[in-house]
């Protein structure tokens, strides 16, 4: 996404005074600074760019008290999954752990959101700038907010920007992110979830497609047979983006940078690493993530000494769903088709231990079917 020009980022639409809810709040009430000082340099002393992060209580809490109550536990704010994952992989030595934390602070923890960075401006991690002259947006615009951060994977999948891969059918039905990912999900419900798949009010395909299991449904047999065996994406997703080897560091000027090695399109079915009552399926789609044993080497060697504690092929829910896909064209497009499954040979030697729980043993690959429903 093209960044805004510097002046566009901070241009305030004077219509804001007509906002019956927020128009009466003076700039200084939220941002501080000195509104009487005509010198911009001194006027901006102590100005807070985003007064809604890390705590929105003072500026949003009075009116949006319920949302604010759960705000700190929204995954977009807490980034708890990141922390838990690094905790699991990190070297337990306190000195080394501190250096890993320092690296995380420099590189990873900037990618958060806040009330302001969804409803007023673009997220800071994509260079910010007001969405519409500081006018409050009840529903954050998809391409300036959601896919501004979730760009490399979700945006390209959803909009069909990966070469040879069709857009998500829901995109073709003009559905925006918020249709599935509601405000309630984004705002959190006060529970400290370990990952997005645990979120109780997160989207589920059956929320809209419950009829596929009904007797009169067209593919009821197929859907019922596979219901607890494979996730919906196993049959209905297309090839999706995988990344590897993210390394972070600082250049000669002290500016932070990251380098990822390769990204590629692939489709791999593996064993479900997050089996739960909500996701009981044995087979799910897996995405190779950019985590690497040496991600933080610039800061400290052996920072992720327990790297193998978690797989690098992670449960994925690709956003390029189609009703018809190559693997669901007929039973034997998938059954007996080894190339679709994450096998031992598909995993690099150095990552085999980490992924032993998700690699599909040959004995578990569904056998070719003699009979096929018409």
């Amino acid at each position: 996404m093209e960044p805004l020009a510097p002046h566009e980022k901070i241009f305030v639409n004077s219509d804001i005074v007509d906002d019956e809810n927020h128009g009466g709040i003076a700039c200084v009430d939220c941002h501080g600074g000195n509104p009487d000082d005509p010198n911009w340099k001194t006027a901006h002393k102590n100005v807070v760019k985003d007064p809604t992060y890390p705590d929105a209580t003072k500026v949003c809490g009075d009116c949006h008290d319920q949302i604010n109550e759960n705000y700190q536990k929204s995954l977009h704010v807490s980034l708890r999954p990141y922390r838990l994952i690094v905790d699991k992989r990190a070297n337990p030595n306190a000195v080394i752990r501190n250096k890993v934390e320092c690296a995380m602070n420099n590189h990873c923890f900037h990618c958060h959101s806040s009330c302001g960075q969804c409803h007023i401006s673009r997220p800071t991690s994509v260079e910010g700038g007001f969405l519409d002259g500081h006018l409050f947006q009840k529903k954050p615009p998809m391409q300036e907010v959601c896919t501004a951060c979730h760009g490399s994977r979700i945006q390209k999948e959803y909009f069909g920007e990966n070469k040879g891969v069709l857009p998500d059918i829901h995109k073709e039905k003009y559905m925006k992110c918020e249709k599935c990912h509601t405000g309630d999900e984004m705002h959190g419900n006060g529970k400290d979830y370990a990952n997005r798949y645990e979120v109780e009010n997160g989207p589920k395909c059956v929320d809209c497609h419950e009829e596929v299991y009904k007797r009169e449904a067209k593919n009821v047999i197929t859907h019922r047979i596979h219901r607890d065996k494979a996730s919906c994406q196993v049959c209905h997703a297309q090839s999706y983006k995988n990344c590897s080897a993210c390394h972070v560091g600082k250049d000669k000027k002290g500016l932070t940078f990251f380098k990822t090695k390769a990204s590629w399109l692939d489709f791999k079915i593996g064993l479900n690493p997050l089996k739960s009552e909500k996701r009981p399926q044995q087979f799910v789609t897996l995405r190779h993530i950019p985590a690497d044993r040496g991600t933080f080497d610039f800061y400290v060697k052996d920072g992720l000494s327990n790297f193998d504690a978690l797989p690098t092929w992670k449960l994925a829910t690709p956003h390029n769903i189609r009703r018809k896909t190559p693997q669901n064209s007929q039973c034997n497009a998938c059954h007996g088709n080894e190339s679709l499954f994450l096998l031992d040979k598909d995993v690099e030697d150095k990552e085999k231990e980490a992924n032993k729980g998700v690699i599909v043993p040959a004995s578990l690959i569904p056998r070719k079917q003699k009979w096929q429903p018409k």
């Binding site: 020009a5 510097p6 002046h7 901070i10 241009f11 305030v12 639409n13 004077s14 005074v17 007509d18 019956e20 128009g23 009466g24 003076a26 700039c27 200084v28 941002h31 600074g33 000195n34 509104p35 009487d36 000082d37 005509p38 911009w40 006027a43 500081h134 760009g151 490399s152 983006k241 990344c243 993210c246 560091g249 600082k250 250049d251 000027k253 500016l255 932070t256 940078f257 990251f258 380098k259 990822t260 090695k261 390769a262 990204s263």
Partner: protein, 66 residues
Amino acid sequence: MKYWSLIGLVVAFCLVLVPGNALISQASEESQCFTCHTSAKKLIEITREIAKIRPAVKSAESEGEG
């Protein structure tokens, strides 16, 4: 007399019900923040000035998809 009462009533009505936006506009006009941040011309001048003092802060070494 009736005429003056009517005018009085209208004035009182305006004072009670209209002032929301009027006061906001007044406050906005007096605020240097509002005056400056609603003027594209001023912002262009200032952001150019800032760019001279504080050049871009993005490393050119980043590579690959984030």
